[in-house]
């Protein structure tokens, strides 16, 4: 029982990371109309940059700070150079993100990957505390805290700032938003800037737990897709609920049944959700006109 509870606690922490990546996916989907396959690898690549700086003798925190600035710039570049030019249709944009997914993995292999995988130093303290026989790791608790802070920040942005309100407007009715003077491209640029920073954060939290290598984000990207679908692909808040469901379930499955079934179980949860609720737990139906 103690083991199961510990697994659930670490599953929740992992689930919040998944939820955060899922949140980025949905946020970008809502503002730019496309599910971005490359967000995971964007985080991976940025984490490599921080790693290189650290390896060259810089402190970990300064390196992470510089990495965050680079990530913002990187996010802007991704939108302005890869996704925006000669604006294609939805399918074309999707394929662009897939091409970017390939490109970033290849770039990481060429520039940083000679001796991968690497051990990545943790920003968070090790160890933990026991509460009622259940081990709570500091890193997990801090992860939960970080995610809560970020969620609060986003909620505040959507509720109290003009830019946040415009994000919601574009997500609901892109055309009407433009009629109200909302500069959608500027918003998309901001969205990618934020997405770049969040992706780095995920990379920094994830890399110490597993190892740092060019394919490190593939599993969590899949989990994040599953979480987004479970939460309902149009619901920003639902992504975190979906993330926790996927995180806990896959943690339990890999502990008790074997790690070769984790992805399969996430897929099964996703398909089951779709079978019961085609729009996910919190999603709304998309109305189409003839």
């Amino acid at each position: 029982m103690g083991l199961a509870l510990s697994v659930i606690v670490s599953g929740i922490a992992f689930g919040l990371l998944i939820g955060m990546l899922a949140f980025i996916l949905v946020f970008l989907y809502k503002t730019t109309g496309v599910a971005n396959f490359a967000v995971g690898n964007i985080g991976m690549f940025e984490t490599f940059i921080v790693y290189e700086l650290w390896k060259d003798g810089m402190g970990l925190w300064p390196a992470a700070g510089i990495g965050l600035v680079c990530s913002a710039v990187f996010g802007v570049l991704v939108y302005q150079v890869v996704l925006r030019p000669f604006g294609g249709n939805q399918a074309n944009t999707l394929v662009r993100t897939v091409a970017l997914f390939l490109l970033l993995a290849a770039m990481a292999d060429v520039f940083f990957g000679r001796d991968q995988p690497y051990h990545f130093p943790s920003l968070l303290p090790s160890g933990g505390t026991k509460v009622g026989g259940v081990l709570l790791r500091w890193s997990d608790l801090i992860t939960v805290g970080i995610v809560l802070v970020i969620v609060t920040g986003f909620v505040a942005m959507f509720r109290y700032t003009r830019t946040g309100l415009q994000f919601l407007a574009v997500a609901q009715r892109p055309e009407t938003a433009r009629l109200l003077g909302v500069r959608a491209q500027r918003l998309s640029t901001i969205a990618y800037m934020l997405a770049g920073c969040l992706a780095l954060l995920i990379g920094l939290l994830l890399a110490p737990k597993q190892l740092l290598f060019s394919q490190m984000m593939n599993p969590i990207l899949l989990f994040a897709f599953a979480a987004a679908v479970v939460g309902g692909f149009t619901s920003l808040g639902g992504t975190f609920v979906g993330g926790i469901i996927i995180g806990v379930a896959t943690d339990l499955v890999s502990t008790y049944w074997g790690s070769d079934l984790t992805l399969a179980s996430a897929l099964a949860i996703m398909l089951l959700t779709l079978a019961v609720r085609p729009n996910g737990l919190f999603g709304t139906a998309q109305v189409r006109r003839l």
């Binding site: 003009r162 309100l165 415009q166 919601l168 407007a169 609901q172 009715r173 055309e175 009407t176 938003a177 433009r178 009629l179 109200l180 003077g181 909302v182 500069r183 959608a184």
Partner: protein
């Protein structure tokens, strides 16, 4: 300059307000608009009638830059309007689109905040006038806009269109889903506000009687052009040909 100059309008100087000249729009080869010319002076309320598919909505969309024009000049106070919708909005053209474009998941107040497109010093005074004209909107301020009735949503859309003190307001399908009484209230408020604050209003509708009753003049759109519709009783020639 345009077909309407004969009218004794409130135009203070040549070129003030919205002016559309020789507008052409095509959709996959079909001529939707074919040399349409129309002007709306500050403080004037102009109606545009025509049967379904005549191109009324397209006219408004072309002004806002949502529909690409193949020829023609659209200018505001003598300055040509850009082709991007967000830039048109910032230049001072507000547009209540077909179906009203209400953000159902946002509150009424949030919807209205989105209408403040540019910094305008007169904003406070117009808000006061609007709150007087549409008291229901004030009462519903914290409701989710999606829960409002069609008539209430129309009020919110008009409120949102005017709050940013535009030079010109375009209203598409004013009467859609409104009861005759709600419609009358809405358009009377609209006309009064436009006149009081020098905002030109262009209303598009199928309901030509309403337009004739409340507008300074009504134009009929047919075959991609407009002509002035002077005799309100001459319905037969307008629709039944």
């Amino acid at each position: 300059m345009t077909a309407v100059s004969q009218e004794g309008t409130r135009r203070e100087q040549a070129g003030a307000g919205l002016s559309i000249e020789d507008l052409h729009v095509r959709f996959s080869g079909a001529r939707v608009l074919d040399g349409l010319s129309l002007a709306v002076a500050p403080g004037e309320i102009v109606g545009l009638a025509g049967r379904n598919g005549a191109g009324k909505t397209t006219t408004l969309r072309a002004v806002s830059g949502l529909a690409a024009r193949s020829r023609g000049v659209i200018s505001l106070d003598g300055v040509p309007l850009p082709a991007r919708p967000e830039a048109v909005a910032r230049a001072g053209v507000a547009h209540v689109p077909e179906g009203r474009g209400i953000f159902a998941d946002l509150t009424v107040e949030e919807n209205i905040r989105l209408g403040i497109v540019r910094k305008v010093p007169a904003e406070r005074t117009l808000r006061g006038a609007l709150e007087e004209a549409f008291p229901a909107v004030v009462r519903l301020r914290d409701q989710k806009a999606g829960r409002l009735s069609g008539g209430e949503q129309q009020m919110v859309a008009l409120f949102r269109g005017l709050i940013g003190s535009p030079r010109v307001l375009l209203v598409d399908e004013m009467s859609l889903g409104l009861s005759p009484r709600a419609l009358r209230t809405a358009i009377e408020a609209l006309a009064a506000l436009g006149r009081a604050h020098g905002i030109g209003v262009l209303v598009v509708d199928q309901n030509s009687r309403m337009l004739h009753e409340h507008c300074d003049r009504v134009h009929l759109l047919g075959d991609g052009r407009v002509r002035l519709w002077e005799d309100a009783s001459d319905i037969a020639s307008a629709y039944f040909e």
